[in-house]
């Protein structure tokens, strides 16, 4: 299944998507106001019901506007840092990225001259957590994967250096371009390949099974002694190939940056 959010006449509707058509969850009797809420509260019966939805009455997406799948995450996004780095790390490194609002494809990424000097891209895939989780094993964690979502985890490297932590550097307004679709695990028959491009030049390319710590590990680890809220976003971290890794110029005004993943679409943004 593919979940999406569309806007129509100033209102937003969490919905199911298939072949260019959307069916709002509301029309199916589910009154969740966001996909974050849907992921948090959906039960097995509702989930099964959604698999049988008839799209013949769906709305053609040319008549509506698709929005980032989770426009205003109510909690910080959990990022697994250095998760593609080939080292013998025994435990993941988590950090938290504040997101006031997500951007969609086509939006302008602010450059904040005077504040930001080293703007970098990072293609990542987030898992959207299904239902509140408390103390699950890695095997049980599979049940808590609602779906996958593509993001570009924009970072201002100079601010990481200045404040010793990536918090501010990744949390500025407009620093989370996000995909339209949350795609359930059963839609994937091979590991998700992720890529990024700057002005058409391929920069990053890897598959998310190359991480040191996978989503099952993270869900299990993070739910050990705290409730991990359904709807939370946990990000894979980014593979090699950022501007910093490659010693390439950082992003600057007019640059076009794209991130892409199998089944999850492509997000293209221009730097202000």
């Amino acid at each position: 299944m593919i979940f999406a959010v569309y806007a129509y006449k100033g209102k937003t509707f969490p919905s199911l998507y298939k072949n260019g058509k959307v069916v709002s969850l509301k029309s199916l009797g589910l009154n969740y106001s966001t996909l974050e809420e849907t992921a948090r509260f959906i039960d097995d019966e509702q989930f099964e019901m959604l698999k049988r939805v008839d799209f013949s009455q769906g709305i053609d997406i040319s008549n509506v506007t698709l929005m980032p799948a989770i426009m205003e995450p109510t909690q910080d996004v959990i990022i697994m840092e250095n998760n593609f780095v080939d080292d013998d790390a025994q435990l993941p490194t988590y950090f938290y990225k504040k997101v006031n609002y997500a951007n969609c494809s086509g939006a302008i990424i602010p450059s904040y001259p005077g504040h930001v000097t080293e703007l970098d891209y990072q293609v990542e895939v987030c898992v959207v957590v299904r239902n509140d989780v408390y103390q699950v094993s890695k095997e049980q964690a599979t049940k808590h994967i609602f779906g996958y979502l593509l993001i570009n985890n924009i970072i201002a490297r100079n601010l990481t250096l200045r404040h010793r932590r990536p918090y501010i550097a990744t949390s500025l307004n407009g620093y989370l371009p996000m995909g339209y679709f949350i795609v359930t695990a059963d839609e994937f028959d091979k590991p998700i390949e992720i890529k990024s491009y700057v002005n058409g030049e391929l920069r990053q390319r890897d598959t998310i099974n190359n991480v040191n710590f996978d989503f099952n590990y993270a869900i299990s680890d993070l739910s050990r002694i705290s409730v991990l809220r359904g709807g939370s976003l946990i990000s894979s971290g980014t593979p090699y190939g950022t501007a910093k890794d490659l010693n390439k110029p950082f992003l600057s005004s007019g640059d076009i940056v794209s991130v892409e993943a199998d089944n999850l679409g492509i997000i293209t943004n221009i730097i202000d």
Partner: protein, 304 residues
């Protein structure tokens, strides 16, 4: 004014302490619309504090006695994490550096270190701080002044910060030092449920000058553990809020913990570890007292 969230007859209400401090009025009793303090924060009315004040002055009927209510965390559901500032008291930074075997000079910072404690919920006065046997047994506590943002703040200059703050409360930044150490970062060990008691109420900003100075004192079983005054903050509250709001909107209701002072007896590690039954009291001048007890929690045994 002291804004608080409390329970009476199993109902949760947001309200304000009476002028004499003996009783509480819910916002509903005052004819005001907010059910929670988050709703008060979300209200775009810039005169909202004045409104509460006027209604409080006008009301003639008696409120509910403070003794009859259970005070809850003022903001029990956290949106987008709690923003923390590391090493904001020089002496505390030095003691941490020394404990890590680094030089005292490494504690000198030119820019604030910000990070987020990703707790989905906070706890309130009297709530237990969990001591999880076999997993989180190395508890450390830290008293901090918490700033509550009263309306969305973006690119706010230092001189204007006060207008964007709803008020101040007490936060106890609990962490497990072992978990922080094994993960080599202070995130997971700080983000455990029950590790951020706040309260007892939010003292509104109109009671203070632009950059108020607070005395902080934390005791464990009555014995002083931490002591300080916010005049010793490396980066003061207007600076922090202004900088954080630079190109990053601080949404109404955001909690910012501004830093913890040094321990009185930092060298003595044994003495610092907390045990079930320990009573932690955080006291901040002009705000009040926040007391919590460490309590053993056994349900994580499966993870040993």
């Amino acid at each position: 004014m002291k804004i608080l969230y409390y329970e009476i007859n199993s109902l949760h209400q947001a309200g304000v302490l009476s002028i004499d401090g003996e009783s509480v009025y819910s916002f509903k009793q005052l004819g005001l619309p907010w059910n929670t303090i988050q709703e008060l924060c979300d209200d775009k009315d810039t005169n909202k504090l004045k409104k509460i004040k006027n209604r409080l002055k006008e009301i003639s009927k008696e409120g509910t006695s403070l003794r009859d209510v259970k005070i809850l965390s003022p903001i029990p559901v956290v949106r987008r994490g709690i923003i923390c500032i590391g090493f904001n008291f020089q002496k505390h930074a030095q003691e941490v550096a020394v404990l890590r075997g680094e030089s005292k000079d490494s504690a000198n910072i030119s820019y604030p270190i910000y990070f987020s404690k990703r707790n989905a919920t906070t706890t309130g006065p009297g709530d237990a701080i969990p001591y999880v046997k076999g997993y989180a047994e190395n508890l450390d506590v830290g008293i901090e002044v918490a700033v509550i943002v009263g309306q969305d703040a973006l690119n706010v200059p230092k001189e204007k910060v006060k207008e964007y703050i709803l008020g101040y409360t007490i936060a106890n930044d609990v962490c497990d030092t072992r978990i922080n150490k094994v993960y080599t970062q202070p995130f997971l060990g700080k983000s455990i449920d029950g590790y951020i008691p706040i309260g007892p109420w939010i003292v509104t900003t109109d009671e203070f000058e632009e950059n108020p100075l607070f005395d902080l004192k934390l005791t464990v079983n009555g014995e002083i553990r931490q002591k300080g005054n916010t005049r010793d903050l490396v980066f003061d509250i207007p600076y922090i809020v202004s900088e954080l709001s630079t190109n990053m909107t601080l949404k109404a209701g955001t909690i910012i913990a501004t830093g913890s002072p040094a321990n009185i007896d930092a060298g003595n590690l044994e003495k610092l570890l907390l045990l079930p039954g320990d009573i932690i009291t955080c006291e901040i001048s002009q705000i009040g007292t926040l007391t919590n007890v460490v309590k053993e929690k056994n349900d994580a045994e499966v993870w040993l």
